[in-house]
């Protein structure tokens, strides 16, 4: 029988079920990211359709201040790179390197959020709030949703660092690090489109 050998192999393989479970979880998370893509896609669609409806309020080019946004962009780009370095350290088996690079990533992420919050606060003080116009509703919701994603990622990253210090590098923590770094790269990709479509096309 053609499949007999394969079958025997999978039976022998049985006790190592944990590892397969982690592969399933990676796939599940990837699919979750696809759903998140669609979530952001819908927010982008709404923003693009409504971005001209300023209802007498400030327009994109009047409101956005690029230096802060450019800083945010390079910070997030760098953090995507450092989260990759964390994965590299993990694959080399270096727990200290792994936690260290995750910490660098988290600090960069936190400064990104800090800059974004101060940008929002400044806008609100200038009278540009979520209820000023459809354009600003779309802007705050799209950019804010990305910010909430980054913040959730930060809490999650700290939780993973704690688990790493407790359990070390094993198949479960390894998968968790792979997942968070995938998530982080994904948020970087979303930001590239926020940067391009909201900010760059807004001020050009």
């Amino acid at each position: 029988m053609a499949h007999g050998g394969n079958h025997a192999a999978s039976q022998a393989h049985g006790h190592d079920g944990h590892h397969d479970q982690e592969a399933l979880r990676m796939m599940g998370f990837w699919i979750f990211l696809i759903t998140d893509c669609i979530l952001f896609g819908t927010l982008f669609a709404t923003y693009v359709v409504l971005h001209g409806s300023t209802a007498g309020g400030p327009t994109a080019s009047e409101l956005f201040e690029m230096p802060g946004v450019i800083a945010e962009t390079f910070i997030l780009l760098t953090s995507s790179f450092t989260s990759g370095l964390a994965v590299l350290a993990m694959n080399k088996g270096s727990k200290r390197g792994l936690i260290g690079w995750l910490a660098v990533t988290a600090i960069l992420g936190a400064s990104f959020i800090g800059l974004e919050v101060s940008e929002f606060v400044k806008m609100v003080h200038e009278g540009a709030t979520i209820s000023t116009s459809a354009f600003l509703s779309g802007f705050f919701t799209l950019v804010g949703t990305h910010g909430v994603h980054v913040s959730v990622g930060l809490v999650w990253m700290v939780a993973i660092m704690l688990q790493l210090s407790r359990h070390g590098i094993n198949s479960v923590t390894k998968r968790k690090v792979n997942v968070i770094s995938l998530y982080w790269h994904f948020l970087d990709v979303v930001w590239i489109f926020v940067f391009t479509i909201v900010y760059m096309m807004g001020v050009k």
Binding site: H3, M27, T35, A55, S131
Partner: protein, 652 residues
């Protein structure tokens, strides 16, 4: 909304609602009493509320959805009663508005969806030779999120007031300016919370089906129901995020005063209609695709033939799940998007009818020259085919954009979508329930009472909805609670109401059928229908671990082929020796986390942050508690497997 007194909080003023209050109160007291008297609280918690077993989660889905069917059905009968006596004010217009709203939401989101998820859970792992779904913890969480979302939505009936802006809640009516009450917020949070659960179920079953099939079961050897689940789940993961965003934007409008869909501040209500149908249209395919899978299984089993056109069926299912994303604008041809847009979406709508037609021919050719027997599952399938064909045809009529300007929002449309949703989805899920019931519970449902139920439903359906096509052509629009005698609509409405009650009687027969079959239970073997697929190769009900040894699949209808080989005297392959089975531990976190979601949702509905914030903190805390828990699984030892299998009369 500001709550100034208890009468703002509790819904008052209508005797129907007081009656419901009393009934709900008495039922809850009775449940608590029974559980306490028989000391069943611990059992309920350990065996059911915290279970991660897909079979038990499936049963809970089915029970919850049948309760919701009752509530949605009551809504329907109340509406039909009002329309049979238009002058009597049996329902006041504003009460009628809430009832057609909750009827729609409940039937689609809290009846059809969970019944579908119930069938996914009960069948898919067994059918593909797996021991559970890919993520059992997540599966339990999905169920409890659905349950809490449904409860939150239904709570609006007695507390705060029901939503009343239609099942899709179009702005500007659903905005705070025109719906200042909390009903609309109950709508948003009830759907939002259960929607997260639906999304996770979609991910769960995609990974389960793609990665956990028994060795040898290539994708093209997979049973058709599992294919239909895959196609439905793909549509879920691609469509539900759109719903999440759309409702979130509506909430942001209502709560933070944003201007996405408002009439002022540059908002555009039409954007909501565009977005909600990007989810709404795929949603109807999400619920119908698994029904197609069920019919394929049932037709093959009861015709004793393999399914005709397996590959074309797979192609039809998968192409529908993709194409369902390109037709949404046909729900608002009259919105004024221009001739180009309307022409494009009319064309895609007509095209999607083609793969659907292919399937009907496949089922007919499967039956051709088969040795057909007409047990309940097959009966519902036979009821489905003519009903769905007519419903599909009227759908194609509606897809003709210029003609739609006449049909739009008339009873013609109402009759059309009820014909595909009842004749297709409901009949399909009933067929599936009857078919897999013995696998789940170990006994069949009484055939004779089942036949009464079938005929009442089937005849009731036509009596109810055929007159509505006529009413639509006569100009009766949906969502009206009264009409003048000079319109000439009364006779048709009266007949339609009779049909509605006939279906209600059909439902009562089903309840009686279940109770009767439990009382006079006759145990059946693992394979009571002479089935074709793997789920029939194990005992009924299936043991906790499903398969003592994972089957080695060789053919498309593998269990049928195994039985044929046995009949021909081909010696069986030696079974692999038993090994300890790796199982997930039960967890209380899903129900607790979902209860926190309920709290958060309830707090946000009333803008009571002192409830909402602790609720959200609880959600985050439960997630972290789960993340830090590394003790999540255990092994079933070999001797326990042996004794379980022996008790089911099987040698291993």
């Amino acid at each position: 909304m500001k709550i100034n007194s208890l009468s703002d909080f509790f819904v008052t003023g209508d005797p129907l609602i007081y009656g419901a209050d009393v009934a709900i109160g008495l039922t809850m007291v009775a449940v608590v009493l029974v559980l306490t008297l028989f000391k069943r609280w611990g059992w309920l918690w350990r065996e059911w509320l915290t279970t991660v077993d897909h079979k038990r989660i499936g049963i809970m889905y089915v029970i919850a959805s049948l309760l919701m069917l009752f509530r949605g059905g009551m809504d329907a009968l109340l509406m039909r009663t009002q329309l049979a006596m238009p002058d009597m004010e049996f329902l006041k217009p504003d009460h009628y508005n809430s009832i057609f709203t909750t009827h729609g939401v409940i039937m689609i989101l809290f009846m059809a969806m969970p019944l579908m998820f119930g069938l996914f859970n009960l069948v898919v792992p067994l059918q593909i030779g797996a021991r559970d779904v890919a993520f059992p913890f997540l599966n339990s969480l999905s169920f409890w999120l659905f349950f809490m979302g449904a409860m939150l939505f239904n709570l609006s009936f007695v507390i705060g007031g029901s939503p009343d802006a239609g099942w899709l809640s179009y702005p500007p009516l659903s905005e705070r300016m025109f719906s200042p009450g909390v009903g609309q917020d109950f709508y948003i949070w009830g759907i939002q919370i259960s929607g997260i659960g639906s999304l996770m179920t979609g991910i769960n079953f995609i990974v389960t089906i793609l990665k956990m099939r028994a060795p040898g079961m290539k994708l093209m050897k997979m049973p058709m129901f599992s294919w239909s689940v895959l196609s439905s789940c793909l549509t879920i993961i691609l469509a539900f995020p759109i719903l999440t965003v759309t409702l979130a934007l509506l909430f942001i409008d209502r709560y933070f005063g944003a201007h996405f869909f408002t009439l002022d501040g540059g908002g555009n209500p039409m954007m909501y209609i565009n977005l909600i149908w990007m989810w709404g249209h795929p949603e109807v395919y999400i619920v119908i695709l698994p029904a197609f899978g069920i019919f394929s299984e049932v037709v093959a089993t009861f015709s004793r033939k393999k399914l005709f056109g397996y590959k074309s069926m797979v192609f039809a299912l998968m192409s529908i799940s993709l194409f369902s994303f390109f037709t949404w604008a046909h729900h608002f041809f009259t919105m004024g998007s221009g001739a180009d847009v309307n022409a494009f979406f009319a064309l895609t709508t007509m095209l999607i009818a083609i793969p659907t037609g292919v399937k009907v021919f496949n089922w007919l050719f499967t039956m051709f020259r088969g040795k057909i027997t007409f047990e309940s599952p097959m009966l519902w399938t036979m009821g489905f085919i003519p009903c769905f064909v007519v419903g599909g045809m009227t759908g194609v009529l509606l897809s003709v954009a210029p003609a739609d300007f006449q049909f739009h929002n008339s009873y013609f449309l109402i009759a059309h979508f009820h014909q595909v949703l009842i004749g297709g989805v409901a009949f399909g899920y009933f067929s599936g329930l009857y078919y897999w019931w013995p696998k789940v519970f170990g006994f069949k449902l009484n055939e004779k009472i089942g036949k009464y139920a079938f005929w009442f439903w089937n005849i009731g359906f036509y009596v109810c909805f055929m007159p509505q096509y006529v009413l639509g052509l006569m100009g009766m629009t949906r969502r009206v609670s009264t009409y003048g005698w000079d319109s000439g609509w009364w006779e048709w409405n009266f007949v339609s109401t009779i049909g509605g009650f006939l279906m209600g009687i059909g439902f009562l027969f089903q309840v009686w059928q279940i109770l009767h079959s439990i009382k006079f239970m006759e145990r059946v073997s693992g394979d009571p229908w002479n089935g074709r697929t793997l789920e029939w190769s194990i005992p009924s009900p299936a043991p906790a671990y499903n398969f003592a040894t994972i089957p080695q699949v060789q053919e498309r209808d593998d269990w049928w082929a195994t039985k044929e080989r046995k009949a021909q005297g081909v010696p069986e392959q030696p079974r692999a020796p038993l090994e300890p089975i790796h199982m997930p531990k039960n967890s209380g976190i899903p129900i607790i986390m979902s209860a926190f979601w309920f709290m958060a949702g309830f707090g946000l509905v009333f803008d009571w942050l002192w409830i909402a914030i602790p609720g959200l903190i609880g959600v985050a805390g439960s997630m972290l508690a789960h993340s830090f828990n590394y003790n999540t699984d255990y092994y079933i030892p070999v001797d326990e497997i042996e004794s379980t299998e022996a008790a089911a009369g099987r040698v291993v």
